[in-house]
C-alpha cells in the first residue's frame, strides 16, 4: 500500500521549504524586536524592500552579493568534504591582499593579463593559507579549528603590515593601500552603468561567481576528485578502507576551499573596493560565508541564492538608518533564520516518533495480550 504523504513528511523532506519558513520566522522575530523597541515595523521593512527592489538597488545587491557567494561556496565546499572551514576569513584576507599587491605593483599590464593574474595570485594565497592549516593537521595532528582561528588573525595583521609598506601604502592621508591599477578593475564602463541606470560599482564579478558556482557543482558531483572528497567527508575510515588517501584528500579540500575564499577577496577588491583599508576589526566576509553556506544547504545553487539574499540584507540593512531603525536588525534577522534552520531537524524527529510509536511497557503488554 502506498503511504499517503502527510504534511509532516512534506516539511521534513523539503529543505527548501524549511529554509523559506525559517526566513519568514526570521523576519517575524525581527518585527517583534522592532515593535518592542518602538521602531515602526512597516517603515523599517518598507525601506528594506524599497531599497533592494529598484533597478539601481538590485544592481547594488548583486555587487554586494559576489564576495558572499564566493566565501559561501568556499565554506560549502569544505562542509561537503567534512572539514569546517572557519578559516575562510583569513583566506579571504590574504587573497584580497595578494590581488591588491599584484594590481598595484604591475599597473601597466594589459587588462586581459592583469585581471587573470590577480585572480591567480588571490587563489594561490588563499590555497596556501588553507594548505598550511591542512598540513598542520595532517602532519602534526593539530586541530584545524584552532589553527584556523590563529591564521585568521595572522592574516589580519599580515594584511595590515603589507598595507603599511611604502610601495603599497596610500600616498595620501588615507589609512589604506594605493588604489589598484585601472587595468585590474572589473567595473563596467561608467557610461554603460549610467545609461542602464544601475549602480556605478556594477561589475563583472557576478559572472565570475556564476562560473565558479558551476565549476564547484561539477567538481563535487561529477568528478572522481569530488567523489573522493565527499567520501572522506561522510566517513573517513570507510574512505580509507576503500583506498582513498585521506590525508591528501583533506589537503586538497582545504586548498580548494581556501582558493575560493581568496578569490572572493579579489572579486570584492577588483569589483567595488579598489583598495584595502588598514583593518580595525575583522571584516567578516569569511564568517558570513559560513552563514551563506548554511542558508544555502551547502548546495552550490542554494549558496548562490543565499548569497544574493545575504547581499540584499546587507545592502538594505545599510539603508535602515535613514528611517531610524538600527542596522543590527539584519544580524537579528539572519541569526534567527540560521537558528531556525538549525532546529528544523525537529520535523525529522517528529516524523520518526510518529512513524515508530514509543514502545513503552503499556503497549508492550497490549501486544503480548493480543498474541
Amino acid at each position: 500500500m502506498k503511504e499517503k504523504k502527510g504534511f509532516l513528511d512534506f516539511l521534513s523532506d523539503n529543505k527548501f521549504i524549511q529554509t523559506v519558513i525559517s526566513i519568514l520566522l526570521g523576519f517575524l522575530v525581527g518585527a517583534i524586536f522592532l515593535a518592542v523597541l518602538g521602531v515602526s515595523v512597516g517603515e523599517a521593512y518598507g525601506k528594506l524592500i524599497d531599497s533592494v527592489t529598484s533597478l539601481k538597488g538590485f544592481s547594488n545587491v548583486v555587487v554586494y552579493a559576489v564576495p558572499y557567494i564566493l566565501t559561501g561556496l568556499s565554506v560549502a565546499f569544505s562542509f561537503k568534504t567534512g572539514v569546517f572551514n572557519i578559516g575562510a576569513e583569513g583566506q579571504y584576507v590574504v587573497g584580497s591582499m595578494a590581488a591588491a599587491v599584484t594590481g598595484i605593483l604591475m599597473p601597466d599590464l594589459p587588462k586581459g593579463v592583469l585581471i587573470p593574474l590577480c585572480f591567480l595570485a588571490a587563489m594561490l594565497a588563499g590555497a596556501v593559507w588553507g594548505g598550511i592549516v591542512a598540513t598542520l593537521k595532517v602532519k602534526w595532528g593539530i586541530n584545524e579549528v584552532l589553527s584556523m582561528i590563529m591564521f585568521n588573525w595572522i592574516a589580519y595583521y599580515l594584511s595590515n603590515f603589507i598595507a603599511g609598506l611604502p610601495a603599497i601604502h596610500n600616498d595620501g592621508s588615507a589609512e589604506a593601500t594605493k588604489n589598484i591599477s585601472e587595468n585590474a578593475s572589473m567595473l563596467f564602463p561608467k557610461e554603460f552603468s549610467k545609461a542602464a541606470g544601475i549602480t556605478n560599482t556594477a561589475n563583472w564579478g557576478i559572472f565570475v561567481a556564476i562560473a565558479i558556482m558551476l565549476i564547484v557543482w561539477f567538481v563535487i558531483e561529477k568528478t572522481t576528485l569530488g567523489y573522493n572528497l565527499k567520501a572522506v567527508g561522510s566517513n573517513k575510515f570507510a574512505a580509507e578502507y576503500g583506498g582513498i588517501n585521506v590525508n591528501r584528500s583533506i589537503l586538497t579540500a582545504l586548498a580548494i576551499s581556501g582558493a575560493l575564499a581568496g578569490l572572493a577577496g579579489a572579486l570584492q577588491l577588483m569589483g567595488m573596493g579598489k583598495r584595502i583599508s588598514i583593518f580595525s576589526s575583522q571584516e567578516g566576509f569569511g564568517f558570513a560565508g559560513i552563514v551563506v553556506a548554511l542558508i544555502g544547504c551547502s548546495n552550490p545553487f542554494g549558496v548562490f541564492i543565499a548569497g544574493l539574499f545575504y547581499g540584499a540584507l546587507m545592502f538594505g540593512g545599510s539603508k535602515l538608518n535613514l528611517v531610524g531603525a538600527p542596522t543590527q536588525l539584519i544580524s537579528v534577522i539572519v541569526g534567527t533564520v540560521v537558528f531556525f534552520i538549525s532546529i528544523s531537524v525537529v520535523f525529522r524527529h517528529l516524523k520518526r516518533l510518529k512513524k515508530a510509536p514509543a514502545r513503552d511497557a503499556q503497549t508492550g503488554r497490549k501486544e503480548l495480550a493480543s498474541r
Binding site: L37, I142, S331, V338, I343, V345, V346
Partner: protein, 315 residues
Amino acid sequence: MTDFVNSLGIILFATLVYMTPLLYAGLGSCFSEVSGVVNIGIEGMMTAGAFTGTVVAYFVGNPWIGFLCGGLAGAFFGMLHAIATVRIGADQTIAGTAINMLGPGIVIMIAKVMFNSTDTPSLKPGVQTIPKLFAGVFDTSTVFGRFMDNVFATYASTYLVFAVALLVWFVFYKTRFGLRLRACGEHPQACETLGINVIATRFICVCLSGFLSGLGGACVTMTISTQFRPISIVGQGFIAIAAVIFGKFRPHGTLLGCLLFGFCSGLKVVLGSNSGVDMQLISMIPYVVTVIVLILFVGKSRVPAANGKPYIKAK
C-alpha cells in the same frame, strides 16, 4: 635590571588582564565541549554578557550585580543553544553560528535604542567598575614595590577567575557530576543505560558555559575599558575556544593556554612601545607562538568522542 623588572611587571599585569576574560570563557567552553556539545557561540555569549554587565552596573551602580547579570545574560544565550542542540538535536555548529549573530545583534540594537548610540556610557571607574584588590598596598616608589603593585594589585575578577578555575577542576575530577559530564561526552548511550540523564547533564553544562562566557564578557568592559562598544568583543570567544583545544579539553590545560596567550599579548604591549619592529608584526606574536607551541610541545588534542554529535534519546 630596573628596566627589566619594570617591563616584566607590565607584561605580567597585561597578561593577567588579558587572560581573565579568556579563562572565564574557556572554562565555560570546557563544560560544554567535554559534555559533548560544540559551542562555537561563546563569542556571542560574551558580547551579551559584556553589554548586560555594563548596563546593569551603570544603572544599579554596583559592579558585582552587573557582573552577575552579565553572566545571566550569557546563560540565557547558553540556554537557547542548549534548547536547540540538546533538546532538539540541532547541528551544533549551525546553532552556535546563529548565537554569534543573535547575541551581538540583539544587544547592539538595544544599545542603539537605549542610548541612541552603539556604545554605552562609561562606567565610573572604581565605583561602577570591578575594583582592584590590594590597590595602594604596595609602595610604588621602589622598583620592587612597583613590580608587586603591577602584578598583585589587580582586578578582583582576576583573583576570582583563578578560584573558579580551581572549582571547575574540582567539579570535573572530584565530583559525581564531573564524572557524569565527562562520560556524557564520551559515550552518551552507555551513560543512559547506567541511568544518567544525558539530556539534563548536557543542558546544564551548556547553560553553565553561557554563564561563564557572560562573566568573561563582562570582565572585558568592566575593568580596563569601562564601556561597551561593538568592538569590545572581537574574537576573544574564538581565542577561548582555541585555548580549550590547546589545553586538550581540560580545565588546567585551558588555564595554561590562556596564560600563554595572555603572556604573549603582554609581551606585545612592551615590545610595541620599546622596539623598532612594526607593530603589526608584533601583534602576530600570540597567534604565531600558539601555533609553534602546538607543533613543538602539545601535538594532537583528543576531542571527546561524542563531541559534536547530537544525542537523540532512543525510544
